[in-house]
Amino acid sequence: MTSAEKVILKLYVTGRTPRSQRAIGALQKICEEELAGSYDLTVIDVLEHPQLAEEEKILATPTVIRSLPPPIRRIIGDLSEAEKVLLGLDLTTITNNISE
């Protein structure tokens, strides 16, 4: 597997709120289960880096952006609905490809 196929995710949160923690936990869990190490996850606190939120035009938190592979996908919420997250990040097809 090459680095080009790596899934790049950015998770924007506001502070260390329970909602932020829930989102971080949920995303890490999904990634471990579905992507098994072939991913790159960065957590960005918009309170510390508002400029980064401005650049990406983030309004809601938590927001996950899958910047690679294209197309760019956005998911909003604390990611408590795991099925929607999988669907939204289009991870099911990716994992299928990997397993093939």
């Binding site: 939120a53 309004l59 938190t61 909003i76 604390d78």
Partner: protein, 502 residues
């Protein structure tokens, strides 16, 4: 801890500051609500622009609707160079406009914390004193949870309050006369509500601004018409500018007709408004021409707004009465502005007239005829125009002469008179008088505030040297009502005796 009274923040939008009696609440959020096309974004943009230009107060523009590029372009149409403001660090955008094409899936609970952080960051980054949020409708379309969005907007309002900035939030309404805004926003976000309307009435658009509430602070009530001027934005027409506080002058100025000066007890007052009413062809324009000539002879600057005749006609007719208007213009003491009433709305006429008056700074202003403008507007709009014009003239303490054409040849009153008679200082009637198969002309000073004046009806004639006022009509009654009747000397005496009896 002491409670301080509410402070107002001058917006720099002249008319808005006037109707709000000093500006919008300082450090608070004011909701500006209106239907599509009611100039919400223009008002919002102008609020920031005036802050930067007049008060050196930087501003943040949070856009939920148009992209910053669109806004920059639209604002340029009013001569507001947002690019330059941004380059100077006085203007900052927070771009929350919807992005098309990017998929967005909602999976669980969320808030708008990132937006709040971005707004706060932008305010701190340019040390903003003013914030505009335009407009909140699309954010509800982007996020389906209305309760969350509402409470997040309230949170933004609270953050702005903590930062001490004065802000305007715009919202859509579906009808010009209906609920204040969609999504019940006003109950959550703001106690200060300004409503913009753009109502279609008798096939004419009429824009108004109304301050609905201002957190208990005093403000002018009701709707005020406004217009959008290409290079300066919103211009509110403050009708209540007639503050009845104008200093009153005792100085008399010549009317341009000697006999008329006598009839008025020595001429018009320096700062009065005179209405001349009469049928078409009765001699109103002549009176205007002589009023202007009298001013110019006195070394005064005179401005004529002509709505009925072209320059060519006016100048030719004046020459026929022995008055050289060309020469007066060459001297720089006269400006004649001819314009068809139909080419624009009354609000725009008023703004134009105001601009001309500011530029030329006349000591006399004549409008010939005011009643020609009746037909381009609704009655309400016309009434407001007359009030606004009178206020504008009185503010500048100049002498004004308006003419009004009566609908019937022999007498009666026009709409103009009904609307204007109480705000004019003097009324002069010119009438046709039919006597023994001959049409003659009569004139009387109906009212003249603060001065004794003749009560009789005098005959006047017009020839190549202008107007000549002669003797009173004797043995005629009913001239004013348009039904003159000749009475015999016996009858006259009988009537006079009746009033003399104890």
């Amino acid at each position: 801890m002491t409670t301080e009274p509410l402070q107002k923040h001058e917006t720099g939008i002249e008319g808005l500051d006037h109707v709000s009696q000093g500006g919008i609440p300082k450090g608070r959020t004011t909701l500006v609500s209106g239907t599509a096309g009611s100039a919400k974004t223009i008002l919002a943009g102008q609020f920031l622009v005036q802050g930067i230009r007049q008060y050196q107060e930087p501003g943040v523009f949070v856009t939920f609707e148009e992209t910053p590029d669109d806004i920059r372009q639209n604002m340029l149409g009013f001569g507001w160079d947002v690019d330059a403001f941004e380059a100077a660090g006085h203007w900052q955008f927070v771009d929350a406009s919807p992005e098309f094409g990017s998929e967005r899936i909602i999976a669980g609970d969320y808030d708008l914390g990132a937006l709040v952080a971005r707004v706060e960051h932008a305010v701190n980054a340019c040390d903003a004193k003013r914030v505009v949020i335009d407009s909140i409708g699309p954010i509800f379309a982007q996020f389906p949870n209305v309760t969350t969005v509402r409470s997040e907007l309230l949170r933004i309002a609270q953050v702005l309050k903590r930062l001490g900035v004065t802000s305007i939030m715009t919202a859509e309404r579906t009808e010009d006369f209906g609920p204040i805004a969609r999504y019940g926003i006003e109950e959550f976000v703001s106690d200060n509500v300004v409503i913009l309307r753009n109502v279609l009435e008798d096939e004419k658009r009429r824009r108004t601004i109304e301050i609905l509430k201002l957190r208990g602070a005093p403000h002018s009530k009701g709707e005020y018409p406004f217009t959008i001027v290409p290079d300066s934005g919103i211009e509110v027409i403050p009708l209540s500018a007639i503050e009845l506080a104008q200093s009153s002058s005792e100085t008399r100025i010549p009317s341009g007709i000697e006999e008329l000066d006598e009839m008025c007890g020595g001429g018009f007052f320096r700062d009065s408004i005179v209405l001349v009413s009469g049928a078409t062809g009765a001699g109103k324009t002549l009176m205007v021409t002589q009023f202007l000539a009298g001013g110019v002879a006195n070394g005064e600057r005179c401005l004529l707004f002509a709505f009925e005749e072209s320059r060519g006609q006016l100048f030719r007719n004046a020459a026929g009465w022995g008055i050289d208007m060309n020469g007066m213009e060459d001297n720089g003491l006269l400006v004649v502005d001819c314009c068809y009433p139909e080419i624009m709305g009354l609000e725009d006429h008023l703004i134009r007239m105001k601009v001309l008056m500011d530029r030329f700074k006349p000591q006399r202003v004549a409008v010939d005829s005011l009643s020609a403008l009746e037909r381009v507007s609704t009655l309400k709009g016309y009434r407001e125009f007359v009030l606004g014009l009178t206020a504008t003239i009185k503010e500048r303490e100049v002498a004004g002469l308006f003419t009004s054409t009566t609908p019937s040849i022999t007498g009666g009153t026009s709409i103009t008179e009904a609307n204007i008679s109480t705000i004019t200082d003097a009324i002069i009637l010119v009438r046709y008088v039919e006597m023994f198969g001959e049409v003659r002309r009569g004139m009387t000073v109906l009212k003249m505030r603060g001065s004794p004046h003749e009560k009789v009806i005098r005959e006047f004639t017009i020839d190549s040297s202008g107007m000549h006022i002669g003797n009173t009509f004797r043995n005629v009654i009913g001239i004013l009502s348009g039904q003159p009747q000749n009475v015999t000397t016996d009858e006259m005496e009988r009537i006079q005796e009746m009033f003399q009896r104890p």
